[in-house]
């Protein structure tokens, strides 16, 4: 399964940076959902004029009746998704993250999470993917908003392999799920043979000095930061956190116990992953947490990569923040 999609995505190289092939995870999402739909009649997609931006053109051609485009009407879109789920369908409701969450928040709360309907919310182009379109089109609030809604699983895969596995897991799982699908090109970060385990952190680098916890698009930057730190004699642990909720408290508390402190990195407000990690350690195993992300401010205009660099989420920025924690003592 994985090999099929890897081949598909490799043909659509989005960009090449520092000799690494990078991928637009939307391509993997689209190939995976089409593959699932071929064997699972229940699967439908629901979109808000977002077929192109969700890369669902081929899906819509192959499954026209199972592509429900409601036009520019997000409340309707999520409510219809809930009605389809109540009737035994497995709807993947796919729209730009900024509109999906903010415009349909009450439908997500009441019709999806509270109602425990089997709706999959697919947030396209999340974070600052639409960096130069400005903050109206950014979705940096979504982690913080979605993780406060009871009963909703919140996921953010980091690379194509994880994207495929997360989408497959969501299709098989009976319950509401929110998934960020990144648009920013990312390289493979997970090892060959990687298997997604919901609610579990992935240890990408083992280390005893300091811990970096990242999710989605920032995972590759965290790994690069750990490489910089290694060259400087600092042994950093890197935890990839594809599941924002339910959070892997065990892995976080082990990091709090065993290393000098935790740096969180996310393409979101620091009240997302960073806030969630800080809550866990504050309650059970206090340690210093430095949160890299957008800090109670709308982002300025710029490309996604440039914006991440600006907030200190470049490999160098992350490494510097981590270095500041080493030797502080606890």
């Amino acid at each position: 399964m994985t090999a099929t999609t890897a081949t598909t995505t490799a043909t659509t190289v989005a960009s090449v940076s520092s000799e690494r092939t990078t991928y637009d995870c939307r391509t993997t999402w689209a190939a995976t959902i089409a593959d699932l739909a071929r064997t699972d009649e229940r699967i439908v997609t629901v979109v808000n004029d977002s077929i192109g931006s969700s890369k669902l053109d081929a899906f819509a051609t192959e499954f026209p009746a199972r592509t429900i485009n409601v036009g520019i009407a997000e409340q309707d879109m999520v409510g219809i998704g809930a009605g389809l789920a109540m009737s035994g369908r497995v709807p993947f409701v796919s729209a730009a993250g900024c509109f999906l969450t903010a415009r349909a928040m009450e439908q997500i709360k009441a019709d999806v999470a509270y109602s425990q309907t089997n709706v999959k919310l697919i947030a396209q182009s999340p974070g600052v993917a639409y960096g130069d379109l400005g903050p109206t089109h950014h979705s940096i609030e979504d982690f913080a908003w979605m993780r406060t809604i009871p009963g909703l699983t919140v996921l953010a895969p980091a690379d194509p392999v994880e994207t495929e596995q997360v989408v497959r897991w969501a299709a098989a799982h009976d319950g509401p799920v929110y998934i960020r699908i990144s648009r920013m090109a990312v390289p493979d970060v997970n090892a060959p043979g990687y298997a997604f385990a919901p609610g579990k952190a992935v240890t990408l680098r083992d280390g005893e000095d300091v811990t970096i916890i990242a999710t989605g698009t920032t995972v590759t930057r965290a790994v690069d930061a750990a490489d910089l730190l290694a060259a400087e004699g600092i042994d950093a642990r890197v935890l990839s956190m594809p599941t924002i909720k339910p959070l892997d408290s065990e892995a976080i508390l082990a990091a709090a116990r065993e290393t000098a402190g935790i740096v969180t990195v996310e393409e979101a407000l620091t009240t997302g992953l960073g806030g969630a990690v800080a809550e866990v350690v504050a309650e059970h195993q206090p340690c210093t947490v430095r949160r890299i992300g957008f800090d109670d401010a709308f982002a300025v205009t710029g490309t996604a990569e440039w914006l991440l660099d600006q907030i200190g989420a470049s490999p160098r920025g992350i490494a510097d923040t981590a270095t500041g924690l080493v030797g502080r003592g606890r």
Binding site: V44, A65, R66, I68, V70, G71, A73, Q75, D76, V78, G79, I80, G81, A82, G83, L84, A85, M86, S87, G88, R89, P91, E106, Q107, A110, D111, Y114, S115, Q116
Partner: protein, 332 residues
């Protein structure tokens, strides 16, 4: 007082909560209109059912000290007509999860007490459950929850949610190539929510003739007259312009309701909107068409007066029903 009750069709959990006082008499479990009933017998059955629902609902609100009686009494006739006569639905179908059952969404979820009481009268939940309304851990929230009561298809409460959900259900029926129908019950004040108009466009665009929306046009919202707050008129013309087949009728006339539901879809490929002209608080003399009765709680004396007025209606139905049956027997 706390009690535990055995599982019953429609109840997902055992009842384990405080019980409200027993009313003067339990509501009868009437079930469906008897097979083969003629039109007059059907209408008499539905009138009796609606009166019994109102009689029990006001006693519940009197006992618990909270509820939304005005809008419950305006939608009661639609509820009993659908559950007891029109819809292909039964407690057994709900329990078995029969995919071919008709679906109903009470978008005006604040009329939950009328829904619960109708479900008890129809045999979907145990009538004793009504004595748990709004009590701690009760399944009977102030707004219905699908995770607590199997017969509740959609959790509702925030307005403007039911119609998009019903559109999703109707799309699913089309995908399944099923003949099942979806009914959604909306308040007229609720039509001020923009999400409804998104769904109205989608339903027409997709030709969902398996969808029937009943708009409970009682002309009152929580604080004032709808037309004085944010006017809907001309509602019928608006819905027609959005591509729906519009039927306007007296929402307390069971015969008219039966005819409209049976006729739908009168126009193939077109969803049906029934504008049910009703009175909030119908038919209680002191409550009818009075904006004060959105969620006002009656005094014990007012409960007694309403019960007396409703008992008069029951007595009249009994009288005319006997007469009707006699005539039919004479004819045969």
């Amino acid at each position: 007082m706390t009690t535990t009750m055995s599982r019953h069709a429609g109840l997902l959990e055992e009842i384990d909560t405080t019980l409200l006082p027993t009313p003067d008499r339990e509501i009868p479990v009437m079930g469906k209109v008897p097979a083969g009933a003629g039109r007059e017998e059907t209408i008499a059955f539905l009138e009796r059912a609606a009166t019994e629902v109102r009689r029990r609902a006001i006693q519940t609100v009197g006992a618990v000290g909270a509820g939304h009686l005005g809008g419950e009494f305006s939608i009661t006739d639609t509820l009993v007509t659908l559950y007891l006569s029109v819809m292909n639905i039964s407690p057994e179908q709900v329990e078995a999860g029969d995919p071919e059952r008709d679906r109903i969404v009470l978008s005006k979820g604040h009329a939950a007490n009328a829904l619960y009481t109708t479900l008890a009268l129809g045999g979907y939940i145990h009538r004793r459950a009504l004595r748990t309304f709004l009590q701690p851990r009760s399944m009977l929230n102030g707004h219905p929850a699908r995770t607590k009561i199997r017969a509740v298809e959609a959790s509702t409460g925030p307005l403007g949610h039911g119609l998009p959900i019903a559109v999703g259900m109707a799309i699913a029926a089309k995908l399944d190539e099923s003949e099942r129908r979806t009914f959604v019950l909306l308040g007229d004040g609720e039509m001020q929510e923009g999400s409804n108009w998104e769904a109205i466009m989608t339903a027409a665009h997709r030709g969902l003739d398996n969808l029937v929306a009943v708009i409970d046009r009682n002309r009152l919202q929580q604080g004032a007259r709808v037309e004085d707050t944010n006017a809907l008129a001309p509602l019928g013309e608006k819905l027609a312009a959005f591509g729906w087949n519009v039927v306007e009728l007296d929402g307390h006339d069971h015969g008219a309701l039966l005819d409209a539901f049976e006729a739908a879809p009168a126009v193939p490929g077109t969803p049906t909107a029934i504008i049910a002209n009703t009175d909030k608080g119908y038919p209680i003399s002191y409550m009818r068409d009075n904006v004060a009765w959105h969620h006002k709680v009656p005094t014990p004396e007012q409960v007694d007066q309403a019960v007396a007025e409703l008992d008069e209606i029951l007595a009249r139905i009994d009288g005319s029903r006997t007469g009707t049956l006699g005539t039919e027997k004479d004819a045969s």
